[in-house]
């Protein structure tokens, strides 16, 4: 049978962001795939070197269109580390709260994209409708649905009042029920499972070899989660479970993400309960001393690393960002080999690509 190469991307209904695949098909079977990246490279790391430490917060908020807050949080942690700045507890809690809300938002969005790609529009609409609740909550707290602009070096810029706390409690309670419904669909729906079970398999060894992180790794039975393994902020004060599955396929990734959403909601509830009183930010010294700092955090897609180097001047000497998507991306050709064309969409959705993060 003759081989056909079909281009997927840079513009294709399957992809929400520009990425290019050339998939070689024999009949319906995928023989090979070639990845190409770099369509949304914006030179953010270079740009960061010409802006002051504070200005860079705005810049790093734009690394990712979904998990914008975790990027600024990680960056601020790095600069605070350089300064040796102690961030007030309340400020850190508000940061963490937004991080977890963002995780809920990101996972629900992902579920919608997966459902859409396997032709289950109803779940897509449901997941995105439920996501509106969390977006509204984030807007209530920070004033922005996606870009929050709430982080600053030394803490956060906006405080929470009683009214907002009440809205949070109500919203989170409602979300718990909604997520339970979605879990029921993913867990039991036979047509959903028919399209997601047994495809895009990654074994534990693969995960370690490719250094895959985040939900994709946890779905293959590798229980790495920075919030537990190397607690930053005050995650060690809160109780939550690291969800792992052993199947390693797209369905397991869906299950892991939905369970994680529930865990994130529980975390948010705990944070609203335990929210300490006091200041929300510390004053930053103008001059950042020379030195290096590595800051790590658990984004919705896995570990984010920021390396910040200062030479004592107004601007950072080097900022290096390492996002989780890249590790998932390089596993794609292996995951796709031997699958059918129809599974490509499910697998590509399954690893939760964020091309803007990967390209920067």
């Amino acid at each position: 049978m003759s081989r056909v190469t079909i281009p997927i991307g840079p513009q294709h209904p399957l992809l929400k962001e520009p990425l290019s695949f050339n998939i070689t098909l024999e009949g319906e079977n995928v023989i090979d795939s070639v990845l190409r990246l770099g369509y949304v490279h914006r030179g953010i790391e270079k740009l960061a070197q010409s802006r002051s430490f504070v200005q860079n917060i705005t810049l790093f908020e734009r690394v990712c269109g979904i998990c914008s807050h975790i990027h600024t949080t990680t960056y601020c942690q790095a600069v605070e580390g350089l300064l040796g700045l102690e961030v007030p507890r309340r400020g850190v809690y508000i940061r963490m709260l937004l991080c977890e809300l963002e995780r809920i938002h990101s996972h629900l969005l992902w579920l919608g994209v997966l459902a859409k790609n396997i032709g289950l529009n109803t779940v897509f609409m449901y997941a995105w409708r439920d996501r509106e609740i969390v977006l509204d909550l984030m807007e209530e707290i920070s004033g922005g649905r996606v870009s929050h602009a709430i982080n600053t070096i030394g803490g956060v810029r906006k405080d929470l009042n009683q009214d907002q706390m009440k809205k949070l409690t109500v919203g989170l309670d409602e979300l718990i029920g909604r997520v339970k419904d979605l879990l029921r669909i993913v867990k039991n729906d036979r047509s959903f499972k028919a399209r997601t079970r047994g495809i895009g398999f990654l074994s534990q060894e693969d995960v370690r070899r490719y250094c895959v992180v985040g939900p994709v790794a946890r779905a293959s039975g590798v229980g790495i989660d920075l919030r537990k393994d190397a607690p930053y902020a005050y995650y060690d004060e809160l109780s939550f479970n690291v969800v792992t599955m052993n199947e390693g396929d797209v369905w397991a990734r869906a299950m892991v993400r939905i369970h994680e959403t529930t865990e994130a909601i529980r975390l948010c509830q705990q944070m609203v309960e335990k929210l300490p009183s006091g200041e929300i930010s510390a004053t930053m010294k103008r001059k950042v001393p020379a030195g290096e700092f590595i800051s790590r955090s658990e984004a919705p897609r896995g570990e984010v690393i920021y390396f910040v180097k200062s030479d004592g001047s107004q601007t950072p000497a080097r900022v290096k960002v390492r996002t989780p998507t890249l590790t998932a991306l390089i596993t794609l050709p292996q995951q796709l080999r031997g699958l059918q064309m129809a599974d490509v969409s499910a697998v590509v959705a399954g690893v939760d690509l964020c091309i803007a993060c990967a390209d920067r």
Binding site: V4, T5, I6, P7, I8, H12, P13, L14, L25, E28, A115, K116, N117, I118, G119, L120, N121, T122, F124, M125, Y126, R129, S191, F192, A194, R195, Q340, M341, A342, D343, V344, S345
Partner: protein
């Protein structure tokens, strides 16, 4: 003839049902859905749009295909809908002709992809052809159950047999469900929308079509839907309540709406099948079941 059951009637009814379908699915998904004139507005807009084809496409052929497929479904629709009102258009064997006419658009759909020579069109076309052999066989074999039971190859005969006895949906309930599956395949609706799978094939064979030609394909789809639904109503739900009278027309419309509702529910709750899953399902389960049913009908 022009008004009922001709071109205007069929297109208007097709648009109405298409709107009902979209509205229902929207409500199932928690959306509001389009206003009633949306299909009409879409068609008018498409007719006004510039018509672009890739270089190297045979333009006459690319125009002829959607026109032909539109014409075939109109013809089929004409025969099916006249049977609601009068017996004068029916002749022995018209049933087979209608089923054939309704299956032509799928073949033309494949050719439509082939002729525009885009990679998505060709792959989508291949898929529709693969699918074609499974659901067309299913549809024909299942529907022939109705005609075997009535001992006639004409719509009129099938109706008459049900008016003197039970509607076939009762003795042939499995057959009715299988015919629905066949119809969904024919209409390329979810979960049988493999050739048009948006996340892989863009819109399959229709990817390179635009303007008037795309509008023709869409109209084919609208009319094919109502014609298919009406055919099932005639084959399985006829009886004294659908005789030639205002009440008969009213109940027929109600029955058609009921089937449309079922189709919408099905597309809202299933994922798209993979082509191997579909062929497995059809050849291993559906077609043997429908053959078994036909054998039972012949024996009993």
């Amino acid at each position: 003839m022009m008004i009922f059951p001709g071109f205007l009637f069929l297109v208007a009814l097709g648009m109405l049902f298409h709107w009902i379908d979209r509205k229902l699915i929207a409500r199932f998904e928690g959306r509001i859905g389009p206003p009633w004139y949306q299909p009409l507005a879409d068609t008018i807009k498409l007719f006004a749009k510039e018509d672009i084809l890739p270089i190297g496409t045979n333009e006459a052929f690319a125009l002829l295909l959607p026109l032909t497929s539109f014409a075939t479904v109109l013809t089929a629709g004409y025969y099916i809908f006249s049977a609601f009102l009068t017996s004068s258009t029916s002749f022995e064997g018209d049933f087979i002709m209608i089923v054939f006419l309704l299956s032509l658009p799928s073949l033309l759909f494949f050719l439509g992809g082939w002729t525009t020579s885009g990679v998505y069109s060709i792959l989508g076309g291949n898929r529709s052809l693969l699918q074609y052999f499974s659901y067309e066989v299913l549809f024909l074999v299942t529907l022939s159950g109705a005609s075997i039971a009535s001992g006639s190859w004409s719509l009129q005969g099938i109706r008459a047999a049900q008016e003197s006895g039970l509607p076939f949906v009762i003795p042939q309930f499995v057959g009715f469900l299988l015919a629905m599956a066949g119809l969904i395949g024919k209409l390329k609706r979810s979960p049988y929308d493999i050739p048009k799978a948006k996340s892989e094939m863009i819109v399959g064979p229709l990817t390179e079509y635009s303007g008037k030609k795309l509008a023709m394909w869409k109209l084919t789809d609208y009319v094919q839907t109502v014609a298919g639904i009406a055919l099932l109503v005639q084959c399985y739900f006829s009886g004294l309540w659908t005789t030639y009278s205002p009440v008969g027309i009213f109940t027929s419309i109600l029955l058609m709406l009921g089937l449309q509702f079922a189709l919408s529910v099905i597309s809202a709750i299933f994922t798209r099948l993979r082509i191997d899953q579909l062929i497995d399902l059809n050849w291993r389960l559906f077609i043997p079941l429908s053959l078994l049913q036909n054998i039972l009908i012949i024996i009993l």
